[in-house]
């Protein structure tokens, strides 16, 4: 604990506020990101400055802005998070929370908080973890093991396409990944708010939880908790998952290595492809 006088005054004043607010426990689980330790008491001050307008003073996503924005701000009291490196049903790591906050959530009102100093962001992570008792009771999950990425060959892309068909991704994401599958229009999140699946073909090339192949891998191997997107970790082998990543890249309007391989192969072989979608005869 710090011992300088102004900090002690601030801390005890905050301590009084926090006791009244019922937030920071005396021995909160440690928060560490890249060697930087988070201080929840300091984080609360920053939260009141940057976050409270949407996420609310009680961290339940009921800030005064919430009624006018869609999707709704995260409810930290529920401790259900979309962007994790950990399995579905478990809590994210400090790094996951730090990255989500820094990156922001494209297509939502959650901005990139990258301009805030690292210490501030880590303090905010520490404070956010005080909104739910689950952090102390269960702690963060264990990140899934991601094998090294396999080469983005045409065989990999074609196998990924088979997985896209077999795992029925097209039911929500549509046969070309346009977010227009048969189930897309009725999707609701866990709080019953309507929600749309990601449209791979749109100009928004960043995913909800990142932009790299590794981020994409994690999205379908851990699921986006609180949303309709499930985890496929029980059904897709880790090496195969890279094949699906490579195929998904071909659906996006980006100059990726995967798209280059696909575009080179397609003209001579397009007629060999069976269409994605419901089996013929339905």
């Amino acid at each position: 604990m710090r011992t300088s006088t102004p900090t002690m005054v601030l801390a005890s004043g905050l301590g009084l506020l926090l006791v009244l607010g019922g937030a920071v426990p005396a021995s909160a689980q440690e928060t560490v990101v890249n060697g930087i330790h988070g201080d929840a008491a300091r984080g609360k001050k920053d939260y009141r400055r940057y976050c409270v307008g949407c996420h609310g003073p009680d961290g339940d996503g009921q800030g005064e802005n919430a009624q006018w924005i869609d999707p709704k701000p995260r409810d930290f009291t529920a401790a259900v998070f979309k962007c994790r490196s950990t399995p579905t049903g478990t809590l994210p790591t400090d790094d996951d929370l730090f990255n989500a906050m820094s990156r922001g959530f494209v297509t939502t009102n959650m901005p990139q908080w990258l301009p805030l100093p690292k210490q501030t962001r880590v303090d905010l992570v520490a404070y956010i973890k005080t909104f739910s008792p689950r952090w102390k009771a269960q702690g963060a999950g264990t990140p899934i093991t991601i094998p090294p990425e396999t080469p983005a060959t045409i065989e990999s892309i074609l196998h990924g396409r088979e997985l896209f068909q077999k795992m029925e991704c097209w039911k929500c994401h549509g046969p070309a990944g346009h977010g227009d599958g048969p189930s897309a229009s009725t999707l609701t999140d866990s709080k019953d708010n309507p929600i749309r699946p990601y449209n791979f073909a749109a100009g928004v090339t960043r995913f909800m939880c990142g932009e790299t192949n590794r981020d994409l891998y994690r999205i379908f191997m851990t699921g986006l908790d609180g949303s309709p997107m499930p985890s496929f970790v029980d059904n897709i082998k880790p090496e195969e998952a890279w094949d699906l990543v490579h195929f998904l890249r071909t659906l996006q309007p980006l100059d990726t290595p995967e798209a280059a391989v696909w575009k080179a192969w397609l003209p001579q072989h397009a007629s060999e492809l069976t269409p994605i979608g419901p089996p013929v005869g339905q």
Binding site: A78, V80, P87, T88, G89, T90, R134, Q138, K166, M167, E168, K171, C172, P182, S183, T186, L187, T188, S190, G223, D225, G226, S227, P228, M229, P230, S231, F232, V233, D234, N235, P278, Q282
Partner: protein, 241 residues
């Protein structure tokens, strides 16, 4: 201690019952609570489910199935009400080692409401030709969401805290079900005739609670006496909306 005697005698009764070798009448220490759950008034109408978006399921139902929020039976009985002891149990009961089974069949959850204990193994099966995602919307327990393609092995899970958990499939929005995770071994789900039996209840004073997804909860005090049998009936007031 009296509690220990009751527990060990209840265990003997339970053991005798499960081995099927009960000689003579069951010991009076293993009482039971029986009853019926009914309603007065007019319940909401159930509606036919249109499964056109999933032809492999629609073909399994020549006449469309109805929604299952309120399932009633003869004599104004209420099906899928979960009746359980909410107070008075002497200590927690260990979870049975046998798993419970939840099926996704014809794009419906079977059974519509599945009651089981904390710590008990749950196995979710996909009997259909289509993928489902099994998404129990827990708030007290962790919420998870897993995809289950046809032919996949059963998904295994368990819960540590008592909770009534709504279950949905995001791919098929008409699918609704419930897990009733119980903190006690003394519970039962009503059948279509509204009847329930909670067995192996030692004599004592209990609070018995009924839960229904639409009608809500109600409780009453029940005393299981020396004769071992007690009755608890519940009557819900139904409204058409």
């Amino acid at each position: 201690m009296r509690t220990k005697q009751l527990s060990s005698l209840a265990l003997v009764a339970l053991a005798a019952a499960t081995t099927g070798a009960v000689s003579g009448p069951a010991p009076i220490m293993a009482g039971s609570i029986t009853g019926t759950v009914t309603f007065t008034g007019t319940p909401p109408k159930m509606r036919p489910i249109d499964m056109a978006k999933e032809p492999t399921c629609a073909s399994q139902h020549p006449t469309p199935v109805m929604t299952e929020n309120v399932v009633t039976g003869p004599g104004n009985s209420v099906e899928y009400a979960v009746v359980y002891i909410s107070a008075g149990d002497a200590g927690a009961s260990p979870a049975p080692s046998t798993p419970v089974r939840y099926d996704q069949k014809g794009c419906q959850y079977v059974p519509h409401v599945l009651a089981f204990q904390t710590g008990q193994q749950l196995e979710v099966y996909n009997d259909d030709q289509t993928s489902h995602n099994i998404h129990p919307l827990a708030t007290v327990n962790p919420e998870w969401n897993k995809s289950q393609p046809p032919g996949a092995p059963p998904i295994q899970a368990s819960y540590t805290k008592p909770e009534f958990i709504a279950v949905k499939c995001n791919i098929h929005p008409w699918m609704h079900g419930y897990f009733a995770v119980m903190g006690t071994a003394h519970f039962a789900t009503t059948a279509n005739d509204g009847k329930f039996t909670i067995s192996d209840v030692p004599p004592g004073k209990y609070t018995v609670t009924v839960w229904h997804e639409k009608f809500g909860t109600a409780s009453q005090e029940v005393t299981v006496g020396a004769t071992g049998a007690a009755t608890a009936n519940f009557v819900y007031k139904a409204l058409p909306y």
